[in-house]
Symmetry: C2
Amino acid sequence: MTDPQIQKISVSDPLPSWNESNVKKSILDFINKTTAKDSPDFIPADERIACFDNDGTLWAEQPLYFQLAFAIDRIKALAPLHPEWKTLQPFQDLLEGNIRAAFAEGEKAILQIMSVTHTGITTDDFEKIVKDWMATAVHPITGKHYYEMIYQPMTELLKYLRENDYKTFIVSGGGSDFMRSWVKQLFGIPKYMVVGSSGKVEYEILNGKPELFKLPEINFIDDKAGKPVGIHQFIGLRPVFSVGNSDGDYEMLQWTSTGDGPRFGMIIHHTDAVREWAYDRQSPVGHLEKALDDASKYGWQIMDMKNDWNKIFPDNFNIT
Amino acid sequence: MTDPQIQKISVSDPLPSWNESNVKKSILDFINKTTAKDSPDFIPADERIACFDNDGTLWAEQPLYFQLAFAIDRIKALAPLHPEWKTLQPFQDLLEGNIRAAFAEGEKAILQIMSVTHTGITTDDFEKIVKDWMATAVHPITGKHYYEMIYQPMTELLKYLRENDYKTFIVSGGGSDFMRSWVKQLFGIPKYMVVGSSGKVEYEILNGKPELFKLPEINFIDDKAGKPVGIHQFIGLRPVFSVGNSDGDYEMLQWTSTGDGPRFGMIIHHTDAVREWAYDRQSPVGHLEKALDDASKYGWQIMDMKNDWNKIFPDNFNIT
């Protein structure tokens, strides 16, 4: 027979996928002290702004960002319409499966790939393409759908923060239009709480019907020092809580932690080569070096995936 | 003795400052039919996006936009530090009270005025200056504080929409940073639900302290065809309900009204020269011509201020 007291404690744990550790304690302590009305660290509900990086923080990002996996799949789907790609780089490399070689050509190659896969299309059509891809595409190593590779402990944290009147925003270098196609289903986050990178968009009337067209011109890059800028332009409030996993999140964490009053910053450290991946200073994807070095200076918690999470991916998660 | 039935009806009217009219009925009908679960026009809560222009829609805008009044007051405050302005246009005109002449110099003059009053300063310092101005400045004609010149009927509408799970956004040509300094107190709207025009912002570390600096470079103009673009970039959802008062709102109203399913568009028509102002086709501020001409084509309600509102400004509204 189950001890009713143990049962009760187990049911009321808001973060069951987090092992009992200093990191979990620091999260719960922070939320408690900032929401208890009589606490000297109380934060009014309007100012409870929590910002989360996406790739490597809310879902996996190896062996390459999932948005690039989408772009590559899209290039394969479009290839029959573009016979010239068979001998044109970086498309030839991608179509022949030489992904590393394609991206070795650097920023120009990435911009070319993004341009043909993310622009010259209405925003509505783009969303439909992303949704269709997300519903069907699978990860090359795990065989899971990409949406099954969200981090269960992070969805618990997002939910618990919202239950405590925190506003949970995604602040990611990923594309806004890409992320907004699935943030609600995956993370319970509305589209208007997504700050991402974006291209320019144009309003046009075609055959009497208004459309928004995605142009091959960069509007905003939400990475590094762009993150606090994006937070200001899109949210207008300085976060009191933020989580990232790479040096691209350094300035967001710094902007969060150096404000007045109670602040919480956390780094997701990928340390689990068995259940997920283990990488930091040497990885081009999710490169983590400067933020790790300065974590103690700014009081950032370092979440050790191997030891702090008893579960990584959710069981039986379905996007519908 | 009061008839309890009449008393009950009176208390439960969510829009008491709106006269009983077709406009009021159309608003209530739309909200009812889109929120009743068994209605064929039901809209899920996540998609209940309502967008409001600000100047001339949520508060007054005559004889000139209140943000320009702020800029002029700011120039007067800064003038002792800039003796050269005494003989430099457009500053000389403004300091001598020739406001019409200053703005007759066109866009270049406005950009100069905005540059010296809205940039070269941290975002935190700018917010403090706007808040101080808003708490003290008074309108040159009415003698009211600017915050007392919000439209009582519109605050009722915003509140009633939110009670029905509508998300109320401001989508204005005005400056985001300017508006975010007071949207919560005036309209109950959080900063992250404001889409406005903006300048570029830079993240810098000064004496070890991170700051966001406002640069004299335009980032985004949220007017005309920029409104549906801004709605996409900042909100990511197509509105089902929108309200404006000028041709600057035409594309926002059009983008709203031409989507699938139930849609509501409304124009605030300034027709009350006694209690507010009467203007439309001839006015440079809040110019309303094309949207008036096409209102019936798109099914936009035309709200007649003189006849549809029994009250315009709130009684005893205090910003604190």
